[in-house]
Amino acid sequence: MAKVKRSYTKTPMKEQAPEVRCHNFEEVALGYSLEEGQLEASRCLQCKNAPCIENCPVMIDIPGFIKAIEEGDMPRAYEVLGRYTNLPAICGRVCPQEKQCEMVCRLGRSKKFEPVAIGKLERLVADWALDQPIEYKEVVGDKGKVAIIGSGPSGLTAAGDLAKLGYEVIVYEALHAPGGVLTYGIPEFRLPKKVVNNEIERIKAQGVTIETNVVVGKTITMDEILEEFDACYLSVGAGAPNFQGIKGTSLKGVYSSSEYLTRINLMHGYQFPKYDTPVQESKNVVVIGGGNVAMDAARSAKRLGAENVSIVYRRSLAELPAREEEYHHSVEEGINYHWLTNPIEYVGDEEGRLVAVKCIQMELGEPDDSGRRRPVAIPGSEFIIEADTAIEAIGQGANKVLLDTFPELALNKWGYIDASEETCATSIPGVYAGGDIVTGAATVILAMGAGKIAANEIDNYVQNKKLQEQPV
C-alpha cells in the first residue's frame, strides 16, 4: 500500500443530518467503515511510552489495537481491547476522549494536527465484535464467590474481570433491566440499547449471573450478602435526584432529569402507547443544568416533538461541563441556550400545571473553591420563559436505600461511601466500593476504572483470606 500523506484532521464520521435526527431516537453518529477506520488508524504515530495509554482510566494499549486495525486484523484488535475493557462499544461512544486519551495524543499536540480519533476507532472494533457470535464459557468459579451490587458500568466491569479470574460472580440489580445509567440514563440516540444489551450478554457469557429485581437492603440484606459471599463490591451509583427546591417544584410538568430520562429510556416512553409508560407531551421545554444529562434531556424533549427547547445554565459556555460533541450536536438540533441564567421560580396555573419559568440573570464573580468563577445574581434582572415542561438536571446524590440499612459502613461528609481511591476498600473488610457512589456523579470510564481496581483487590483479598484459613 502506497503511503498516504497523513491527514491533518480526523477522518470524519458519517452522522444523521440534524433536521432528520431531531425527529427520531436512532443513533446520531453512524460509525466508521473498515476503510475509514484503517485510514484513521494510519494517522497514529505508534509512540513508544504512548501518553494516550497513561491518560486512559483503564490503560488500554491504544497503539496496539490501532496497529491491528491498520493491518485489517479485527480479531486481534478486539483481543487487545478485551484485555483492558469489558465495555468497549460503550466507552468508544460516551467517553469524554477530548479530556482523556485524545487530549494527550502526540499527533494532536503538534499545531497542525487533530489528535487520532481513538474513541471512534475503539467503537469500530467493538461494533465489529458485536456482530460476531457470542462464545459462552463454562465457568469453574472455584476461586471464591463475589457479589456485585448494582449493574452499571462499574459493577459490570468488576464482574467481568472477576469471572475471568475464576470467581463465581452474582450481580444484583434493583431495576428490571441491567446496565444502570447505560440503560435508564443515556438515550438511544447516543448509546443504542441493543449495543448495551449485546455488551452485557458478552459479560454474561464469561460466566457472570445477573439477578434483576433485587434491591439490596430490602429484598436481601447486606448481612445475608456478607454471610454468603467471600467479598462484595458496592457499585450502586449516585442515582438520587437533587431538586433546587425553588417555589413551584411540585407543579405538574416539573421533572427531575432522572424521571424524564427513565420514562424515555428504560420504559420506552417515546414509544407510548405501544409501551405503557407515558411521557408528557410538551411544546416549550426548559432544561436546567449544563452537564451531559442536561443535553440528553433537552435533545430527548426535541425528539418527542417540543417546538422550543432551552437550556438554562448559570455559568457561561466556557464552564459548560458537557462533552463538546454533545453541545455541538444540541446546537445543530436547534436547542437554545440561556447563558448566565438561573431559575428562581416555577409559575403555575390554577390547575397546578407549569406555565413559565421565572429566571434571573447572573454574572461571574470571584473564583470559588473549584477555581471556577462563581455566578452571582444580578438584582432586578428577572425574566420569564414560557414553559409547559421543566427538567432539572442539576446533579444527583447518593441513594440512601442501601446505605441506611448498613450503618456500619463509613461515609464521607457528602454522604458517599468512604472508600480508598487506590484500592476501593471501605471501612469493612471484604466490602469494596467504587464508581459514582464513591466519587459522586462522574464518567462511565472512571466508574469502569474503579471496577477494574476493585476486581484485582478483591482477588488479592479473597486469596489471602483463603491462605490464612488453611490449616497449618
Partner: protein, 278 residues
C-alpha cells in the same frame, strides 16, 4: 418471571392474586409495597403487600381495575407469570403497642389497611376498624378484618351493609366514646384528607399511606414526590406512610391527575384490542 399461583375475583372489578416471590415473602412487613411489570411492554405499577406466606414463598396482592395495566393484570390467569416483581419497598409501618388504635379503610384501600390491622392486633393493641365502600360487594376483607379487630364498623354509601354514610361519621362516633391513641387511614386521597381533618379535630395523630405516581420505586427519580411538613419527600423511600396533618393534600391530589389523558388513551386502545381479539 413471577408465577401467579392463585387468582380470585373478590368483588366487581377487584381481584386478588398470589404471586410466587420467595424473597419478598420472606422480608415484607406491614406498610410495604411491591412494584410489578406485567410484560416487556408494561409499565411499573405499585401495589401494597396485603399478606405473605414465607413458607410457601407467596405474596398476596389485591387490586382494583382502574385502567389499562390493572385491566390487563386482571386477565393474568393462574399458572401464568408476571415479568417483574420487586420489593418489599418503602418503610414498614411502625407497629407497637399503643393502647387503643383506630384504623379506617376505604374501597380497595382496605387491602393496604389489612396488614396494619393484623400487625397492630398481634402487637396487643385494642383495634377499632372502620371500613367504607360504595356498596356491600366492594367491602372486601370483612371477615379477615373482623378476625383481627376488637370492633369492626362497616359503612356503605347505599346502606347495603352496616350503616349508611361516610367513614368520617363513624370516626366521630368512635371519638365520642373512646380514647384513641393513634389512627390510620388508607383509601382514596379525598377520603384520607377528610379522615385527617376529622382526627385533627380530636388531636389524634393519623397516619395515611400515599399512593402517588411511581416509576422505579427505589428513590431514583422523584416522580412520587410529595410535600410533607413543607419539605420534599419521596413517597417510595421516605413513605408511603406519613402523618396526615403534614401532607399538602391539594398538591398531592393535583399531581395524581398528571397523566389522565394518556391513561384514558391507553385504556381505550386496550379495550378496543380486547373487544377485537377477546
Amino acid at each position: 418471571m413471577f408465577k401467579v399461583v392463585k387468582r380470585k375475583e373478590l368483588a366487581p372489578i377487584e381481584f386478588e392474586i398470589l404471586v410466587e416471590a420467595p424473597r419478598i415473602a420472606n422480608k415484607a412487613k406491614p406498610g410495604q409495597f411491591v412494584i410489578l411489570r406485567i410484560d416487556e411492554f408494561g409499565e411499573r405499577i405499585p401495589l401494597t403487600v396485603v399478606d405473605v406466606d414465607p413458607e410457601a414463598g407467596l405474596v398476596r396482592l389485591i387490586f382494583q381495575v382502574i385502567g389499562k395495566s390493572t385491566a390487563q393484570l386482571s386477565k393474568v390467569m393462574e399458572g401464568e407469570s408476571l415479568a417483574d416483581v420487586v420489593g418489599p419497598l418503602g418503610k414498614p409501618t411502625e407497629i407497637e403497642n399503643f393502647g387503643t388504635v383506630m384504623l379506617v379503610g376505604g374501597g380497595v384501600g382496605i387491602a393496604a389497611l389489612f396488614p396494619i390491622v393484623k400487625g397492630l392486633k398481634e402487637a396487643g393493641n385494642r383495634v377499632i376498624t372502620i371500613l367504607g365502600a360504595k356498596t356491600k360487594d366492594l367491602l372486601i376483607l370483612r371477615d379477615e378484618c373482623q378476625e383481627f379487630s376488637d370492633e369492626l364498623i362497616l359503612m356503605t354509601d347505599d346502606g347495603s351493609i352496616g350503616q349508611k354514610g361516610l367513614v368520617t361519621q363513624a370516626m366521630e362516633e368512635v371519638f365520642a366514646r373512646e380514647d384513641i391513641h393513634t389512627a390510620w387511614a388508607i383509601g382514596p386521597s379525598i377520603m384520607m384528607k377528610f379522615c385527617t381533618i376529622t382526627a385533627q379535630k380530636h388531636d389524634v395523630p393519623i397516619y395515611v399511606s400515599l399512593n402517588p405516581i411511581m416509576i422505579d420505586g427505589t428513590g431514583m427519580c422523584g416522580g412520587c414526590r410529595v410535600t410533607v411538613a413543607d419539605s420534599i419527600k419521596f413517597a417510595c423511600v421516605d413513605g408511603p406512610e406519613f402523618l396526615g396533618e403534614e401532607v399538602d393534600w391539594d398538591e398531592f391530589i393535583s399531581r395524581m391527575q398528571q397523566y389522565r389523558p394518556e391513561e384514558m388513551q391507553a385504556n381505550e386502545i386496550y379495550e378496543k384490542q380486547v373487544s377485537q381479539n377477546g
